[in-house]
Each structure stands twice: as C-alpha cells, then as structure tokens.
Amino acid sequence: MSTTNYIGKPTSRVDGPAKVTGAAKYAAEFNVPNLAYGYVVSSAVTKGKITKIYTDEILAIAGVLQVFSHENVPSLAWLDRSYKDDVAPGGSPFRPLHSAEVKFNMQPVAVVVAETFEVARYAASLLRIDYDVVEHATDLEAKRDDGYKPGGGKTGWMPPPAPRGNPNDALQNAAHRVEGEFIHQAQHHNPMEMFATTVEWLGDKKLKVYDKTQGAFNSQQYVTKIFGLSKDNVQVISKYTGGGFGSGLRPQYQLFLAVLASLELKRSVRVSLTRQQMFSFGHRPHTLQYLALGANEDGSLAAVHHHALAETSQFEDFTENVVNWSGMLYQCDNVKLTYELAKLDVFTPLDMRAPGAATGSFALEIAMDELAYKAGLDPLEFRLRNYAARDQNADKPFSSKKLRECYHEGAAKFGWAKRTPEPRSMRDGSQLVGWGVGGGVWDASQQKAAASASLNVDGKLTVKSGSNEIGTGTYTIMTQIAAETMGLPLEAVTFELGDTALPEAPLQGGSWTAASVGSGVKAACDALGEKLLKLAQKMEDSPLKGVTYKDVQFVNGQIRLYSDPTQAVVIRDILPANGQEKLEADGSASPDMARQSQYSLHAHNAVFVEVKVDEDLGTVHVTRVVNAVAAGRILNPKTARSQVLGSVVWGISMAMMEESVMDHGFGRYMNHNYAEYHVPVCADIHDIDVVFVEEEDDIVNPLGVKGIGEVGLLGVAAAIANAVYHATGKRIRNLPISIGKLL
C-alpha cells in the first residue's frame, strides 16, 4: 500500500496555518529599515492637461521628502516597448507621470513621499493641481456606431473566426428565431489586498521589490526595462497575493512609483493604493452584445450571430475572446461572430476571471434559453440536441470533452427532471421558484515553466518555481505533486514560489498554473529521482543495481523495483551513504505543441440554479446551485472545490450585484468603495454543490489537468437569469438583476 500518493486526494492547504496566523506576509507588510511612504494623488478630472502643480507648499510640510510628478521625473526609457509587460495589449502603454496629459479619471498624477504614511497622506490631500479640462467620452452606449475591429497584440487573444456557412440566410429561414441585446457594466476585481509595493533599497541601484502581482517575473522585466536596471539588481518577491482575479496580471502603477521614488531618494519606499484607487485601473470592460439565434423545426441550431462591442482606452486595444465561444459550444454550421472595440477616456480594461468567456457565456446562454422556449424544448434537452462533438471553430477534435456527463450528472444531482417548463409554474409558499441552466467552455492551456528540486541529507525536499499563489492552492498542489513524485511524505516537502531568484514560471493566470508549473515541478523531481537512483545504485549491496529509472517507483520513502517491491532502498539513507549533504536537480516542461496542436483543448461546465423570487418586492435569492465541471484530472478535490465554490459566488455576484457605476458627466466611477460596490455577503449565499466529472486526458499535458480557476464561473450569471425567467416570465438581459428591474 502506498502512503505517499497525494495527487487526487483532498488535501488541506499547506499554507493555511501561515495565512490564519498572520505569518504569511503581503507586499505592504515588509517593514524594511528606513522606509519612506508614498501616497498617490489621483486626477480629479477625466481628460485634459495639468497646467500647474503647487508642490512648493507641500514640500514645506515637515516630513515630506519629495513630490514626484511629470515635472520632475527623470529621463526614463523612451520606447513604448520598454513599458510593455507580458500581457500588454496592442497600443501604447500608459506611462505614469510621463506628461501633463490626463487620459482618464483618477489617473495617478503625482506621488507624495514622506517619512510617515500619515504625513504623505495628509500632504497629498492638500496638493493643489490646476487642469485645462477638455470634453471626455466615457459612455459606451453613445459609441454604438464607432466600433472598430482591433488589431492583434494581446497574448491569448484570437480574432473571431471567419463566418462559416450561410449565417444570414440560415437565420432568415429558421423556424424559430430570437434576438436581443445583452449588457453588463464595467466590473472591478476588488481583491481584498490592495495593490502595494515595498521597495527595499540595497544601495547602488540594487533593489529588493515586494510587489502585489500575479507574476514576479513580469514585474521584474517591467522595472528593469523602464529604469534601465539589470535583472541581477532587481529581485521581485511575491510570496502571497491577497486575491488576484486578473488584477495583478499587469504591473500596476504603484510599482513604477515606488521604484521611481526609491531610485531618486536612494532609500526604501512603499506605495500602497487606497480602496478608492483600486477603481483607477483595469476592469472587466463594459460590453454590449447582440445575439441572434435560429433553430430548425427539429430543434437543431440553424444559425448563430454574436456581436460584441467592448470599451477600451484611448491608448491600448484591450481585447478578449467574447464571441468565439459561441462558435464552439454548440454544433452549428452557420455562424457569424464579430467583435469590436470603442475608445473611451478610461483606463485600459484588464483580464478579469474568465475574461471574455464570462461575458460571452452570459449572453449566449440566455439566448439559448430563449430559443429553447421558442422551439418548445426543455433548455437542457435543447443543449444536448446541439452538442458539439468537434470544435467547429478550429475544425479539430477535442482532446477530451465530458460536457454531456456534466449535463447528466449535474441535472441528476439538481433534480432537473422535476422541473415544470412553464414560467411561473413552480412555487414555494408565496415565492415564485425558477430553475435555470447554463454552462460554458474555457481554454486548457500550458505554458513553459521551470523548477528545481533539492533533497537534503535529513530527508527534506525543497522544490522551487517562481510561480505565484493567489489563493488558488498553488503551494498545496505543487507540494502534492513533488511529494508523490519523490515518494516522500507531504510533511517532508517544502515548495517555494513568488521570487525572481527562483526558476522562471509564467504569470499566474489563464487557469494554466496547475498544468504548467505542475509539469515543471514533476520534471524537476524526475530529474532529481534519476540522480538519486544513480547514487542508490552506488550503495553497497544495492538491490537496484543495473536497473533504469523506468524500472523503479518512488513510494513510501523508498525507491523500489516495480517488479519486486521488496527490493528497495530507503531514500533518507542514500545521501548519508554517499557522504553527500545535498542533491539538486533542475527541470522544465513545455507544451508538446506537435501533439497538442492537433486537438482543441478545453474544459467545460454545466450549472443548474434555483432562484426564489418575491415578485411583489422584486427580490431574488439564489437558493441552490449545482455546478458540474469537466476539467481533466483534479489534483486536489478540496482546493479545486473551493475554486468552483468561489466561481459560483462570483457568478451570483455578477448576476445580482456587481457594476462599477460611472457618472458620465464626471467620467468617474462613483461607487468606488467596498460599501457601495456590492459583492455578496454570507447571507446571500445558500447551497452550492460541486461535481467533478471524471475526465481522462493524456493529450492536454502529461499531468492530465485542465485548470479550474475560471471554468466554474461560466454560465452562472446566465443560469440565474434563466431561472429568474422561469420563475417570473421576465427576461433580464441587462446585468445586474437588481431589485428595480423586476418590479
């Protein structure tokens, strides 16, 4: 029996104790000696030019060290490409304090640095700035006719595929048709931890940077390129991240400001943003979608038209895959997908949990529900009839796809069979009850990742990779993979991440960390295992002499022969026997492009929702959710379940509450705080059930994992809207489904 098989077993977070005791430190918690504090001054206007900054009166305040603005920023890198981070979209990146020009409301226009945070904050509040204001445009709905097709440039963005079949005629001739516009406003990530950077000045332009980020290497290259520093002199550390959701994919401006101030003042500096300033950068873009679907008499999809118009900034083309999913989630031969942007005087939007797909699936899955009703079919049956066995966008088979099982297992667990189809037909006392279904599809991707593994003479294993922990469980699953690969107990393994001094790993995003870093960790451990076997073979009377790595297994603290498990060497004995203190190995893993490119690699989900509606008062409660997910091999059912639970809560939030409310007169988000930007409280969340459908896939990557950080969110908002329709007969296509919309 093996006691060191951890993969696939529910495992508590190895970093749990550090998190709940406060031992886990975040970027703004590193109290390095002689620290100065920067406080950001945000633009009060949306568009124009700064004509005067009254810094003199601020510099006179005791304790103020400097006020940095475009007026005194030293000469920095000139070319746009120096400011482009790993996931910068096409265009010209925003450069903090670069010029007098104001491009968006709450733009950082100065940073006041002082001996204490309190002085910096106070002085910043007094800084007077004169602006020449010009007219701004922030309303996407006024730009309906100004959309344009974006160019390329952004990692992971795929322009919509060319139309297939004859979508216009097919829609025209369809037996059943629906069409409608779907809207959601901008939404901000709002992680608990606010963005902060602590720069420790180590002398001679050598910096240790504690940054809130989803990618230490991304921050490092951003800083080194802009400030002309060598990578050896800039170490970026990010051991813990208090929520990311995409907000930390790009370096935020406090990183630039803290490094600038540190280099200029030649001392350590911290800059942290306020909660209000968390609304001053990237967000899920306000998007208008138009969908038209047609079905034949037999309930097969005849045509899919999906158009999206999303906001972007004046200086970058932020793109995400909104409409593409509508060409691959269902079988349809006549498809037209188009995607456009409109430039507004806002900051560039930013990937936010399931970027594009959360937006697209909200619209597609409501439209599918509408069409099911038109065609007189149960919405689940309608989806099954139009099941896509092949990815028609890419014209490739799926490496694996167990969405059918998601539908069946989810429906069984939910009790879907007891649903009566007519709207307003189900009740619980005075409340209307509605049941809705939705779902989606998300990329399963793998990036190149490196790792190192080191076994100490005391039997402890340390594995390192410069990945990031945003709360998903990265520390835990990497520890599981390393422990199982090396046959060591979990307690003997330490995994380190979040440091540019470690082997390079990709940004934590795209749900690819488990597949990418997990494969890198496995490669490093396998390399270490091979070295260890060689040393074991050198031991006196070694029963492993003459065998290869393939002939042995690492389990229960031993290396033993597959053919005869009694023939074994205890791992802890190997280094002492060889007189070695330590044994190290490096490894890295890259996707097998030749094999993977023949397939469409995707995870899927189906989500079933119950709502209860008080019709008189317009209140909705999401009382029950079952989310069935097919995402390959589940490394840790406990942390994976938490990921999907979090996704469902996010979906409820998206459907019922979230919107960054812009006052277009000011061009400013007005609910820029936690009290007024609503996300659910515990009392809003009721039963949530997660089902992981078994899915084996040896094509997607050697570990067989697809990632579960994002797929669980897909279709949740639509399923809620569909349930609300089933309960009330009212179709809400404009999120959030707030109280006034149901009166």
Binding site: T116, R121, K612, G618, V661, V681, A683, D684
Partner: protein, 340 residues
Amino acid sequence: MNSFTYTRATAVDAAVREKSAASSVRFVAGGTNLLDLMKENIERPTRLVDINHLPLKTIDGTPDGGLRLGALATNADTAWHAEVQRRYPLLSQAILAGASPQLRNMATNGGNLLQRTRCYYFYDLTTPCNKREPGSGCSAIGGYNRVCGVLGTSESCIATHPSDMCVALAALDATVQVTGKNGERTVRFADFHRLPEDQPQFDNTLAPDEIVTAIDLPNEDFSQHFSYLKLRDRTSYAFALVSVAAALQLDGTTIRDARLALGGVAHKPWRDAAAEDLLKGQPATEETFRKAATAVVQQAKGYGHNTFKIELAKRAIVRALKQAAEGTQTATDVFLNSNP
C-alpha cells in the same frame, strides 16, 4: 500631518463646553462614521472629544413607564436588550437590519442619529455637493442617484438619511434628550432631523453646542403587530433602498392605532401622519393598506435612477402593514436567518 488634539470627557457639561469652544470640534463615540469621514477628508476636526466615558450607557425605565436608551449604549446592546426586545421589538429588528455585527458593536445610539448620508457625491471630494460644500451644487440631481431620495427632496439636495434605527424611532414616536450650554431640552423625533430645503448642510436641528444624551421611548404597546421591512441590494451590510417600519394596534380586525415610517427615501426618517390617519379605524385589509401606501408616495418625485423607489415603497408599505397585521413579525427578509 493632519493633526488634531484628542481629549476625553467624563462629564456632560464639560463635554458641551469643549464642543462649543470651536466649530471644528467633534464628539467621537463609536467612530463608525466619523473616522470614515476623516479618512475621506470630509471632516477635518481640530479636536476630538472622546465621549465614551460619559455616563450615558444605560437603558432604564422612565417615570412615565417608557424606556430611556442612553446615547452611548451601543446599537448591539440596545437591540439585544431584554426590555427593548420585549416591548419595542420593532426597534430591535430595525437596528439588527442595519450595518454589520461588528459595526453595531461599536456604533452608539446617539451616533446613529447623527450619521451622515451615504450619497456617493457627498463622499467624493472631486464632485460638487451642497451638503458638503454649500452652494457648490447637487451632483446627484442629473447624476447617478439610485440611492437618493424621492420624498421631501429639494433642488439643492436629494440625499437620504441612512439609518434603520431612526426609522423605527420615528414610528415609535420617540423623543430625543439633548443638553447644551443653555441646559436640557426634549426634541420630538419628527423634529430632530430636517428636510434639506436650501440648507442641506444641516442634517438635524441639534445646535453646535448640544449633545444627545438619551432617546426616550413612550409607554405604548406596538409589540404585537409590527414589521421592519428593509429592501436592499444584498442581505447584509447594505443601506436601505427602501425600508418600512410599520406598527399597528388592532381591535379584532380593526386598526385602532397605526404607525408608518420609511427609510431610504428622504433626508429624514419619513413618518407620514396623514397615511396613518387613513389606517386608523379601518379594517386591516390589503385595500386599506394600499390606500395608505398610495397616499405616502403621492408627492414622491423620482430622479431617474431612483424612480423605481416610488413603486417599491408602495409595495413595501403594503407588505409591511400586512406582516404587522398578521403578527408574522418578519424582520427583514425570510432568508436572513434561514437556510432553505
């Protein structure tokens, strides 16, 4: 640095003296609103007088058989006080519908009365706001006004008073005990807060040198038929879009006495005596409730984003009165304390 002096008062008369020394002196008790206002640079006191040590924490009976709530008793202690729960459950329910347990543990009764509006523009220094800066204009009119008022608004301000507790106090005909340089006075709850008119900078009628010492509840019994119905964007930690405090005394199925006050709709807790008169002596039926509800919103004015509040208020009044009549005593929401 944004410095202010901090002193601790241990007697009411001393506190009043300190407060009247300058217009920039503020009392601080629970600090649940004032500290936010200071962080947002809306309040910049030069001196904070900590009144937590004044002897105003008790909750005791009054000579006329009512109940006196000390101004410094916390919202939590008040809501869970045995006498409040037994005799004034409407008040208890209203308090528990507000804020969060953590805030209620800190917030005091006096502070609850004096909290400022949560109008977005009041909190954002970059936008004009007549309440914050008289004469600068009202950004909510023509701006994003979903949380703003529909009753008793003026051209200079459409902000609402955010309290839940005060809505119940208005309905229960409470009085406010205040002490100032010139001695003590008693203020009817309806006269304590004010409408914005052309001076929205004044939320209430408390003089600058005055301090709230207690809130008195009269010796009346609305403990059998009451409802505090709060409608909001999430189930906890959200201000009311519309809330209704309804309380009835019934003779069989006939309404003997009625109280009706609304929150989330006006610059003050909106008690409507005329609507109450429409209820008195009438059968406790939905038709009666509708008439009263229609009367309450007759003069209501929507500003776009908040126009839905008019219809919502109407429906909420009918529901709250129904709950009160049935004695179902539903606090705020059937889901608040249950997990279906």
